[in-house]
Structure formats: C-alpha cells, structure tokens
Amino acid sequence: MKVTYPVSTLEIRNLHVSVETDGEGPREILRGVDLTVRTGETHAIMGPNGSGKSTLSYSIAGHPKYTVTEGSILLDGEDVLAMSVDARARVGIFLAMQYPVEVPGVSVSNFLRTSATAVRGEAPKLRLWVKEVKEAMATLGMDPSFADRGVNEGFSGGEKKRHEILQMTLLKPRFAILDETDSGLDVDALRVVSDGINAVRAAGNTGTLLITHYTRILRYVRPDFVHVMAGGRIVDSGGPELAATLEETGYDRYVKAEAAA
C-alpha cells in the first residue's frame, strides 16, 4: 500500500548570498536564485565549479559562513532563514555534505541516536532502533563495526558518503540536499549510494536536490527536473533530457553567456 503524504514545498526566491573573503570584504556568490522543490520531486542542479552550487546547499542548511543579503527561503510558508541550523534540521531539511566533518571520540551509534532523537522529537525505542540501524547499514553495505567508530574519523571517501546517506535514511527528511554525493565514489560505491538515495525517494515523502558536476549519478538517480547554475544564478531549466544535452555540450556556453552578461 502506498501511503500518500501531504505535499510540502521548499521555495527559494531571489536568493542573494555573500561570503566574507580574506581582506577583500564580502563577495557575492549567489545573485538571485529562484527554485521551487516539492516533496516527491527530484531536482538535479548542475554547473561548473564556482557557479555557486555548494553555496546554495550550505545556505539552505544555514552555515554561518554564508550571509543571505536578499531573498527568502520558505518551507510551506515558514521562514527557514529565521531558523537556527538545528531547527532547520528538525523541520526536515537535510544536507549530505561533500566533505563531512570528523567528530573525534563521538561514536557513530551515539551520534545517530542523538540526531534521530532530536529530529523525531523523542528517543526511538531501543530495540526497534537497533534493528532499523542494522538494516539501513546492511542496505548500504556497511559493516556493523562501523557503528563503534568515531564520526567520520579515519573514514575513506566512500565510507563518508555512505554514512551521509545512512543518516538520510534514518532521518527521513522532507528535503534532502545532496552536495556532490557522487564525488570520490567508484562505480560500485556510486551504485550502492544511489540505491540508498532511491530507497528514501521511493517512500515519496522527500524532495531531493541533487547537486553535481557530472551527469554520471543521474543514470542511477533519475531527476524529474534539471537546472543549470552559472555565475550564481539558475540559467537554464528542463527535464532529464537537459542532462543528456549537457553531457554532449558541457557548460561552456553558459559560462560564456554569464561572462558576457
């Protein structure tokens, strides 16, 4: 039986974001991003390096390094920008990071349970929780001993990405932003990680923002919409066929157009 959930909407309007640079004052990275994502949809955001893809991810999650100077982010009409980083996670925003951070001495199992408790609003029942984690880890091809290691401590690139998707599986976010989750993965790992993402998508209650430089992951995680970012804006949008075109032509014409603008 397929459960239907009410559709949620993440609405990004005219988003301008700056970062502080060393000695040169603030520099504007995002220059008016408009994007609407609904639960159940998957949007791929593609673009060359430096186009602002990661800045968009971190800005939605609320990283303090990025300052929103204009525009809005609304989740079902609620002002996301007014929320603290942890509050954003609790309303269902999840960022799978390109470079997950080490937290030495904090075990994966302790971390996952603390996080699930915070996001769900109550501590998961221990017996069910252990089973849930075990199953999710098995699906992602992770050894059970993984749970005893320190968070991201000495993890390989592939292990870090699996760990991110493990969290996504357990936290069941309404909106998941996957920031270059495909980077650093070989073809086997990419398949396993993609299967994990697809399992969460299949539940139908997650809107996915798939941020990538390459089209490879889109063969495994099929997007409904593809957007091209260049110069801090979304400069083109289309269906999956746009990814195929990009594979042929690359980003050159977008970069040149932005430079000319």
Binding site: S84, D86, F111, S115
Partner: protein, 402 residues
C-alpha cells in the same frame, strides 16, 4: 646505576642511606649516571637544600608563585584535611611516621614544596596491597579539605603479582601540599586515579612519584577540575625491565584557574614502555593550563618504547595553554620515541555538522567535548567515578552558557 631494583628494594629500604641526603654515601635516589633529569637539579628531603623559586627557573616559569607562597615557605599547618579510606578486605591501611623507612622509597623531592610536604605532614598514610591479591573493589582515599594550610603524604605499595585500583579523591578546599608515592611490585597491575575536584579557591601542589618493578603495569589518570591553582608533578621510574606505564590526564580549566601537570618519565631499564596522554579544555578569561612532558631515555634503556601527547581544546577567548614536550634520548636502540602537542580552538565545523543533524548547540558542544575527553575517560574503570567526571564536565560547559 639504579639502586632501587625490585629484588633489593625492600631490604635496602629498611636500612639507613635510603634517602640520599641523609647518607650521601649511599647514592640512592639520584638519577642514574649519565641521565640528566631536566626537571630537577637538586633532589633532597631537606627543604633548605632547595632554592626558593623566583619564577625565572624552568620548573617555575609558568607558575604563579604568590598563591603558593605558604607552601614554598613551609608555613606551619593551620588547616585540616579529613582523610577517610574505604578498602576491600586484604588491604592494609595504616598511619606511618614520616621518618619511617617506608616513606621515601619512590620519591625524592625535587623542590621545596615537595620537601616541606613530608616534613610538615603529621604522618604518612600507607596503603598496602599484599602480593597476589586481586582486588575486586577499588581502594578509595577521600581527602576533604576544610580550609587552611595543610600537608600530607600517601604511600601506596602493591606487592608482586597483585592487581589493584586506587583512587585519591580531593574535594573541599585547602592550601594543600601532598606527596604521593606508588610502588607497583614485580608483575603487578595497578590503576591509579587522582581526582582534583576541589572548590574554586583551593591551592594544591603535589609530587606524585610512581615506580614499577619488573614486568609491572601501571595506569595513571589525573582528573583536574577544580582549584584556583593545582600543580601536580608526576614522575615515573622503572626498577626492572619490562615495565609498562600509561599516564593520562583530563583537565577542565576555567576562568581564573591555573592547572599545571609536569611529568617526568625516566627510562633507565631495558624494554620498558611509557605512554603519556593529557587532554585539557579551557574556557574563560585567565584560564591557564600548563603541561610539561619530559621523557629521558638513559644509555642503558635499550628497547624503550615511549610516546607522549598533550592536546588542548580552547573553548573561549582569553584562555591560555602552555604545552612543552621534551624528549632526551641517550641510547641508539629504541623501539619508538615520539611526542606531539596540539592546542586548537573549538571546531566550529564539527558544531555545524552536528547541528545540521538537528542537535541543539549546547548538546552538540557537549558531545564534542565529551568525545574529546573520551580517550582519557574511557580508561577509568570505575563507572561511578566516570559518571561523576562526565557530569562535572557537563556542568562546566553549562556554566559558560554554551
């Protein structure tokens, strides 16, 4: 030559000449020939044999001397430390006169403060674990300060092939100078914990001397939370081959506190191992932590394996950590010898990572600090003590309103 070898220790110790300055001909207790102990030029039980520190000496340059003045001058005691001991059956607990030959087997004071501690103490508390005793419960020595200047001396002797956990638990307040000597007999295994859970105005100086017999194993943990000034000087020496000593420390230094741990591990025997791991968190204005790690590997100490590390986590502006590892190697044949020291700010990226998983800032901060300390705290095999330290660390973090 090291005089206090395991086999002869008990015999030698009963005769005169055990304390070098009382019978210089004996020569015992001096660093072995060729080993220049960097932390102490003078070693003597006579307080007047030690110079009055000016603050310019290497051993004192980080220490505020004013709060220590009473202890440096050996001011007559006017305070009191309540001592209570809980020990499982089979452990002997007794009070010795400080001139007993059983006092001074392990320690020879390297400064005036340590020399006065024993001279001014009214007696020495001796805890003896007989050979081959395997203690199921820890021996807990509770020292509760009730204000004023006081001195103390604790002797712990663990016989061959015994196994014991000994906890010193300092609470209350005092201006206290306390010497501790721990001898781990041949093949014995000892876990020793010294908890400095003083009130904020306590002053505590302590020389903690450890010696290991052949194939002995020692696990030391220093946990320093309270006190206005705490200065502990742990030393380790080996009296037979195959000894294995691990020293670890956890300190949480708050505004206005000075917490100092100065270690000296002297390898004179073959095939011994030492590990030193001290970790501190600092917060608040004028919080000052000092860690000195001296390791000397003598010319005869072939096959030594040693590593020492100090890591400090600076949580706020205005705190200061001094960290100085020193390694002196006088033999070409070591298994391993290394040291590391790192003092860093709280990792904001780790905080962001945890918060982005829904974990509120204060809880995330607690997780990071607990994780930082876990390497040290996980070694404390007394669950109630571990919980108490964790709770104290949480309180410290809450106090700053993180």
């Amino acid at each position: 030559m090291s005089v206090l070898r395991e086999a002869g220790a008990r015999v030698d110790a009963t005769g005169p000449g055990f304390r070098p300055d009382r019978a210089p001909a004996g020569g015992a207790g001096r660093p072995a020939a060729g080993v220049a102990a960097p932390a102490a030029q003078v070693r003597s039980w006579d307080p007047q044999a030690h110079p009055v520190p000016t603050g310019r000496e290497e051993a004192w340059r980080f220490t505020p001397l004013r709060p220590l003045r009473a202890l440096i001058n050996g001011q007559e005691p006017d305070g009191k430390i309540d001592i209570s001991v809980s020990a499982p059956a089979g452990v002997e607990v007794e009070q010795l006169p400080t001139d007993s030959p059983r006092v001074g087997r392990v320690l020879t004071p390297a400064d005036r403060v340590a020399a006065f501690a024993t001279e001014r103490a009214t007696g020495a508390l001796a805890v003896t674990v007989p050979a081959e005793q395997d203690l199921a419960e820890p021996v807990v020595v509770r020292l509760r300060g009730d204000g004023g200047v006081c001195y103390g001396h604790v002797v712990v002797e663990v016989g061959p092939f015994a196994r014991a956990t000994v906890v010193l638990d300092h609470t209350g307040t005092a201006t206290y100078s306390g010497n501790v000597e721990v001898h781990v007999g041949h093949g014995a295994s000892v876990a020793f914990v010294s908890l400095q859970d003083w009130e904020d105005d306590a002053i505590h100086a302590g020389a903690h001397a450890f010696s290991l017999g052949r194939d002995a194993r020692l696990r030391v943990t220093h946990v320093t939370l309270g006190g206005r000034l705490v200065r502990l000087c742990p030393t380790v020496d080996y009296r037979g081959p195959g000894g294995d000593a691990e020293l670890a420390g956890l300190f949480f230094t708050d505004a206005g506190q000075h917490q100092e741990h100065r270690l000296l591990v002297t390898h004179t025997e073959r095939g011994c191992r030492s590990r030193v791991t001290y970790k501190g968190a600092l917060q608040g204005a004028e919080a000052h932590a000092v860690w000195i790690g001296d390791v000397v590997i003598g010319p005869d100490a072939v096959g030594t394996d040693t590593y020492e590390i100090n890591r400090n986590l600076v949580l706020t502006d205005g705190a200061r950590a001094d960290s100085v590892p020193n390694l002196e190697i006088l033999t070409g044949e070591v298994v391993g010898a290394g040291h590391a020291s790192a003092t860093g700010r709280f990792d904001d990226e780790a905080l962001f990572y945890l918060m982005s998983r829904g974990i509120p800032a204060d809880e995330a901060r607690r997780l990071v600090v607990r994780g930082f300390f876990s390497e040290v705290l996980d070694r404390v095999e007394v669950p109630a003590l571990r919980e108490r330290v964790l709770a104290a660390v949480d309180d410290e973090l809450a106090a700053v309103g993180a």
